[in-house]
């Protein structure tokens, strides 16, 4: 099959990427609410993504878990409807609303059919403006949250992440799980939920994106239908968080056959001029799945894990660089040793020209493929707004990837990657890792 070999050789040099075929419009409603829109009338529905910046980090002092419980209750009764009436009304419209909260934002993902979009929006408006926080709903959902907290306490993955966060950020909101603790959640009262709602659901931290079967004018009206009358301001954002975790290993003893390790060090801000160089570097190091150095060294060559990866995690109040691996108790020490060595090798030598070209081809070629579907487009658009990007980013992003040089990466890798600052939290019964638990 000579033909195949020839084609493969050509393929490696001929990958000129397609351009992202989307047109982003910035829409402002009559009432002054802004949103980004990609119109697409092929399928009769619209995907809507709504964000409120701050999320669970806006919990009032002593009220850890209030924003999370509040968010979970938004669909549990609103206006003159109880939880069941609300669910029936939503289902009768075949609309879908998903509410979720994390450390940096409260997220609402909605899908609405064109045929009943206004009615669906009215319903969603109720859940955002007038959640009831009925006593029975609070107790029901509190029980669910407490169950989740108890489950996390026995889940090696959650234990590792939560331990890492606590060690890195201490008393800052980033240092604890948005769910709160069993004690803090038990102590929450209805007034705390009303307060949490007022702290987060406000105009000054609102971001909206829409994609699908809706015109700019229709979207303007929809925005006011959803958000008119929302309070102007929420609670002030918490301060930047100081990452306080030196390099090392922390073992959390837990009886399970496979140890789970979360590792990390300080990262880089999203708006740092070197962010693209760091991003490309990390794609070679550990973000790229198959072909990344960590995956090659830890999985493909040694069979030590099913998956290993590293990623830049520029949270709003603390940039981090994190990673994860899971390996049998008897082998995890070797996996950690290999990861540390790869961290050091990248810091020392950067990437080869061949690696750089391969990863640029991948990143620039893959980017336009992200925009296939209303739901995906709306998610990307709202994320861009929260990252402070402009709509033309979709056309300039690949040029910025292409502009990264080997020298950029050498410089950034040697500044950013600190093998001595890398800290591993290992949950399990790892052999050959002697550090005592905290």
């Amino acid at each position: 099959m000579m033909r195949l070999i020839l084609a493969l050789a050509l393929a490696l040099t001929m990958a000129a990427p397609v351009r992202a075929a989307i047109e982003i419009r910035q829409v402002t409603s009559p009432g002054g609410v802004g949103a980004w829109l990609v119109e697409s009338h092929d399928i009769p529905f619209v995907a809507l993504e709504i964000r409120f910046r701050g999320g669970a980090s806006l919990d009032a002092p002593g009220k850890r878990g209030a924003t999370n419980l509040m968010t979970a209750l938004l669909e549990e009764g609103a206006g003159d409807m109880g939880a069941r009436e609300f669910a029936r009304a939503r289902d009768a419209l075949a609309a879908s609303f998903r509410f979720d909260v994390g450390a940096d934002s409260l997220r609402v993902s909605a899908r609405m059919l064109s045929e009943n979009r206004d009615q669906a929006a009215d319903l969603l408006r109720q859940s955002l403006h007038a959640p009831r926080f009925d006593a029975d709903a609070i107790e029901r959902v509190r029980g669910q949250v407490l169950s989740a907290i108890a489950s996390d306490a026995k889940d090696p993955q959650a234990l590792a992440s939560q331990t890492f966060d606590r060690l890195a950020f201490g008393d800052h909101p980033y240092g604890s799980a948005p769910d709160g603790t069993a004690d803090s959640v038990q102590a929450l009262r209805r007034a705390d939920l009303v307060e949490a709602h007022a702290r987060v659901i406000a105009r000054d931290r609102l971001y909206v994106a829409a994609a699908g079967d809706i015109t700019a004018q229709e979207l303007g009206l929809l925005l006011d239908r959803l958000f008119a009358g929302l309070p102007e301001t929420g609670a002030p954002m918490p301060p930047q968080s100081d990452y306080g975790l030196p390099g090392g290993v922390t073992v959390v003893p837990f009886d399970t056959p496979q140890a789970v390790a979360v590792f990390g060090q300080p990262g880089m801000e999203r708006d740092d001029p070197d962010f693209f160089a760091a991003y490309v570097m990390n794609e070679v190091l550990g973000a790229g799945g198959f072909g990344s150095r960590l995956m090659e060294e830890v999985r493909e060559k040694r069979g030590l894990t099913y998956g290993v990866y590293s990623y830049l995690y520029p949270m709003d109040l603390a940039p981090m660089m994190l990673g994860q691996v899971a390996s049998s108790n008897g082998r995890v020490a070797e996996a950690i040793e290999v990861i540390r060595a790869e961290w050091a090798r990248m810091a020392q030598d950067g990437v080869t020209q061949e690696e750089l070209e391969a990863v640029k081809t991948y990143l620039t070629g893959a980017y336009p493929l992200r925009f296939d579907g209303n739901a995906k487009i709306a998610r990307i658009l709202v994320g861009m707004q929260m990252d402070g990007l402009s709509p033309d980013y979709v056309t300039t992003r690949n040029d910025r990837i292409r502009a990264v040089t080997q020298e950029d990466i050498r410089r950034v890798a040697s500044d950013l990657l600190q093998p001595d600052a890398l800290h591993f939290v290992v949950v399990g019964r790892p052999e050959g890792l002697e550090t005592p638990a905290n």
């Binding site: 070999i5 990427p17 009768a92 060559k301 998956g307 579907g373």
Partner: protein
């Protein structure tokens, strides 16, 4: 609140119906079936090769070999070096992966539409030309053992569900986990993998599904060019697995593990799957799962166990109609704090009896019906999802016509069909009921 935390995620998988528009299919002379799903909204295509073979087709004693082979399919051919497959795809800006179930093994790439030709070339190459080096096989066996650790052995809920399934199936290999039993995985060899490959990987045992910004004519030309020259197998085994005898006895699975934070109970019934030309009962069971245990705030179990009484934190039901042989219908109850599994099971039994007595809530039934129609609209937003829908159906004994008839079959279901299916399913005396809990000594400890 719908965040169920890795406990009941399975419940949310809604095996919805398909759109009839813009789907073309044809078969090459060597038996390769081709399905083209057009969607020209974005310059993207998904290229999938589905083999009509999965874990339930494995010979006895080598459980996990179908999945192990899936991993080894990335370990090289004469032309493509070990591990190079994914690198070539990535050099095109594409991504790729593969997955294995009881009834199928599938490989896919997601690339710009103008790179499709090369993807087909790569898939055709490894359909018949796999070359494995011994050390690669040994290393990859360690990888699948770590995968089993990660998916199953580190998660008491996964171990429990594995035991439940093994108890449900008395004779059919659906009772064996896809990833394999650990003691058998540890002995899987290169020879086992190649024997399975030689038996089942051939164009007349495969389906090419291409979805996205493509035309049927172009796909036909490319498929002919790359797959057309591959010889069909004349020794494909008939897909006949040992079938289930009548289930005549109640069975119980009591699984205890100190890592359990949230006890729950699960009940499994053997249930008919979607059969070609005869999908009516499966459609009724699809409604039944939603009516009993769909949306918590409206479903029968949710109303009775979560709202009217606070017996449960969560309730749920799942039914997977896409299956070559008899499938499972499952119910779940996660008890509220202080409620024993015994009390929860008693409440479940009473609720099921009440459902059989009271019948279907007509308003909820109508709402479900329109949601199923809407699900078709939402499904069109995800081409990879559509491609999977066809691949799964065609490897599970259904035809394209069955897939396209399914929305109408669902719309034709009547409340009395659902109740007939419910009486049949829930007649009693033949289910598997399982409790996942902590050992007693641990339960009395103070929660940390």
């Amino acid at each position: 609140m719908r965040r169920l935390r890795n406990l009941l995620v399975l419940l949310l998988i809604w095996a919805g119906p398909a759109t009839a528009d813009r789907v073309t299919d044809f078969t090459l002379d060597n038996g390769l079936q081709v399905v083209v799903i057009e969607d020209h909204r974005a310059p993207v295509t998904v290229n999938m090769v589905w083999y009509r073979v999965g874990a339930a087709d494995e010979p006895p004693g080598v459980s996990g070999i179908a999945h192990f082979l899936e991993h080894l399919m990335f370990k090289g051919t004469d032309e493509v070096a070990p591990g190079a497959f994914s690198r070539i795809v990535k050099a095109q800006g594409g991504s790729d992966n593969a997955f294995t179930s009881w009834d199928y093994t599938a490989y896919f790439q997601r690339v710009a539409a103008d790179r499709l030709d090369l993807m087909m070339q790569l898939e055709a190459d490894r359909m018949t030309d796999l070359r494995l080096a011994g050390p690669d096989v040994e290393t990859e066996r360690d990888v699948i053992l770590e995968e089993r650790n990660q998916r199953t052995d580190n998660d008491p809920g996964a171990l429990f569900r594995e035991q439940m399934r093994a108890a449900l199936y008395l004779n059919h290999p659906y009772g064996i986990p896809i990833i394999g039993w650990r003691h058998e995985m540890e002995t899987l060899s290169k020879a086992d993998a190649l024997a399975f490959y030689d038996t089942y990987y051939a164009p007349n045992n495969a389906i090419l599904v291409v979805a996205g910004d493509v035309t049927p004519d172009a796909v036909r030309d490319m498929a002919q060019t790359h797959f057309g020259g591959l010889a069909p197998s004349d020794a494909l085994p008939a897909r006949v697995r040992p079938q289930e005898p009548p289930h005549l006895a109640e069975r119980r699975v009591m699984f205890e593990d100190p890592r359990v934070a949230q006890p729950y109970l699960m009940r499994s019934y053997l249930a008919p799957e979607r059969d070609s030309g005869d999908q009516g009962r499966a459609a009724a069971l699809t409604y039944l799962a939603e009516l009993l245990g769909g949306e918590g705030a409206t479903s029968f179990l949710g109303e009775r166990l979560q709202f009217e009484r606070q017996v449960a934190l969560y309730t749920g039901a799942s039914y997977g109609g896409l299956s070559l042989d008899d499938t499972a219908f499952n119910l779940f109850v996660v008890p509220a704090p202080g409620v024993s599994l015994e009390t929860a099971e008693d409440a479940l039994d009473k609720a099921l009896a009440a459902f059989l007595r009271e019948g279907v809530d007509p308003a909820l039934f109508d709402s479900l019906k329109s949601q199923l129609l809407a699900a078709e609209i939402y499904a069109r937003d995800n081409i990879q999802g559509l491609a999977r829908r066809y691949g799964r159906a065609l490897t599970s004994g259904l035809t394209i016509e069955d897939v396209q008839a399914w929305p109408d079959v669902l719309q034709a279901v009547k409340p009395e069909d659902v109740m007939a299916a419910a009486h049949d399913l829930l007649k009693g005396g033949n289910a598997v009921t399982g409790w996942l809990s902590r050992p007693v000594a641990e339960v009395t400890e103070v929660t940390q």
